[in-house]
């Protein structure tokens, strides 16, 4: 069969990449299996729940981070801050009733991050720098409005506690995480907006030449990220019932790590939310195993970083071999 020689090369790239991904999966599974068997208390239902609990908040933010990454806008360096800010707002807004508080919080998240999308999409500003700057602004406004005090839910208000309670023995956040992941994946795969997002991530020049509404897509992508982050914000607010900027913790970097470890291309165009879900669960599993084996927080962060580097390197090796 006559074939474009470039196609054969492409197949080669795909084959080697598939092979390298398979190799990674094999090595990781082997390590995890070894760890699982030799770590006391790892193969228990309680620990399984602990892993899922640790995954949920980071995972929800990571879903939003993935959409930004796939659209070719690298990542946001302030989604963790947005999560803290929306958690604070949620606790404040509870005085208007639970339903309205949730709606307002999700809207606020989509607005805050969507606005950053305008700057990135319309003017081609660097997303990393824009999100760092926007993070500073959010911190400033949050400190200003809150007067530096922690935000507590209104006295006597208990409705939000439902969000922090497990359902059928599994944390509520996990259900939200999976539902959000499925919906986002469906939007990316099945809608015109989703396909345009992938095209823009793969080749912005081509997307521009095809007259795609770059600004609109970018705003949409960032708004989705804000929506996801605010969803995490609601759950974090409900779980802690004490809103301050400290809640931002390490969510930003953890969410990026989850998306990268899942094997999404940082330059956009290739990847999926499913990969991020796998990445988030893998990181949580490894961290949990290290914790059970008595390793410190420092070691856990270090290993997380090593996993990111190793996965990123392996993902790119396939490309190099085909040069």
């Amino acid at each position: 069969m006559p074939q474009d020689p470039r196609l054969g090369r492409l197949e080669g790239v795909v084959r080697v990449q598939t092979a390298s991904v398979a190799a990674v999966a094999l090595v990781v599974s082997a390590l995890l299996a070894y760890g699982a068997v030799t770590t006391d208390g790892f193969l228990t239902l309680a620990n399984f729940k602990a892993i899922l609990t640790a995954t949920s908040f980071v995972g929800i933010i990571a879903v939003g981070m993935t959409v930004i990454m796939l659209s070719g806008n690298l990542f946001s360096l302030s989604l963790g801050t947005t999560a803290a800010v929306t958690a604070m707002f949620f606790l404040y807004a509870l005085q208007f009733g639970l339903g309205l508080a949730i709606v307002l919080t999700l809207g606020l998240g989509a607005l805050i991050v969507g606005l950053q999308g305008i700057v990135v999409g319309a003017w081609g500003a660097n997303p990393i720098i824009v999100t760092i700057g926007a993070g500073g602004l959010q911190e400033g406004v949050a400190l200003w409005v809150s007067g530096g005090h922690s935000l507590l839910p209104p006295t006597g208000e208990t409705s939000y506690l439902h969000l922090a309670r497990p359902v059928l023995g599994i944390p509520f956040g996990i259900y939200v995480f999976f539902v959000l992941a499925v919906i986002t994946e469906a939007v990316l795969r099945e809608t015109r907006f989703g396909r345009e997002t992938f095209l823009m991530g793969e080749n912005r020049g081509a997307a521009r030449a095809a007259a795609l509404p770059i600004t609109l897509i970018t705003v949409g992508v960032f708004a989705i990220a804000g929506f996801c982050t605010a969803t995490a914000g609601v759950l974090i607010g409900a779980a802690t019932a004490n809103g301050s900027l400290l809640l931002s913790g390490t969510y930003t970097y953890d969410a990026i790590a989850a998306a990268l470890v899942g094997g999404n291309a940082v330059t956009g165009g290739r990847g999926s939310v499913v990969r991020t879900v796998i990445g988030a669960i893998s990181i949580a599993t490894v961290s949990d195993m290290l914790l059970l084996r008595g390793y410190s927080t420092g070691i856990q962060i270090l290993v997380k970083g090593l996993i990111v580097v190793i996965v990123v390197v392996l993902m790119n090796l396939g490309r190099i071999w085909n040069r």
Binding site: G124, T267, I301
Partner: protein
Amino acid sequence: MPVRWSQLKARGSLRGLSPFVILSLMSLAMALLPQISSYEVVTAHIFDVMQNFGTLGLVALALGLTIIAGEFDLSVSSMYVLGGMVAVLTGAHSPVLGVLAALGVGVVVGAVQGGLVAALRMSSMPITLGGYLVLVGLTYTISHNKSVAYSNYDVGLWLDNPIAQVFSPRSLISVALFVVAALVMRYTRIGRDVRAIGGDRRASRTAGVRVDRILIGVFVVAAVASALPGALLDYSLASASPQIGLDQLTFSATAALLGGVSLSGGRGSPAGIAAGVLSLSILQELLVIIAAPMYVSSLITGGLLLAVTIAWAPGLGQWLRTFGFVKIDEDDGAELAFHGVSESVQEKQEPSA
């Protein structure tokens, strides 16, 4: 009157001059403050500005150099914190040994990160993000999650001893290294090559620039330049803390961009970065003088970073023209549209196959 924004931008005159214009305005503001208000400005305030230059100036230079080379080292702030921790832990008996250990760690970190970026020909963002996490984890691990005290107070006192009222050995070390960096970038082939690989990686490879060596060199210099001020600051404070925030990265990025470094690579100079650092340091000192609440500082730094990013964004001229804010110029339009495409982040990567 319509402004030929794109022409100014294309010539680079605006970018080249703006850091020094901004610095002059900031200095003027500091000089005029006592005249227009009851606040006093004394030499101690200028000393503080220079101390801040000694603390974060080199981190901004480190980040700026990687941006000029067309990369972005997200790990500079973690290297800065790790550098301090290593120096305090290893320098208990000999401060020099501590600094050398910190610099040594910097060389290794830079070589690994630069080596990976060069060998894989990939974006430095994910690698240095992983690197950031590794270094943060390493700092927590070697410090056992706690602040570590440094008992040799004399070193800190010597480092912060005022010279000519406004300088100290610590700030003079930064000034000296900035001068060296400026000379190298201005007058040597290495400097030209760094800008070349940042401007057009493929063309410079074709033209015989040893891209990989330059890349590794830039990352090593960046890591070392981040580790050194971290080590010196922690000697001054007589303690090292493993805590890390976004502050150092925000400051460095803002200072580098104020200093005229272009995010699309290839443009920028150590002198400009120095002006950016000084401008931002003066601004922060002004906020201290008028005793502004902390949130004002966050708002201004964040807002300034956004403003300067937008001002240099490749698509802004196009956008302004579309909405009739500036005069339409056919030739420029074509050129700018091209810039808008070529300067967006992902196109900076070399084609994969």
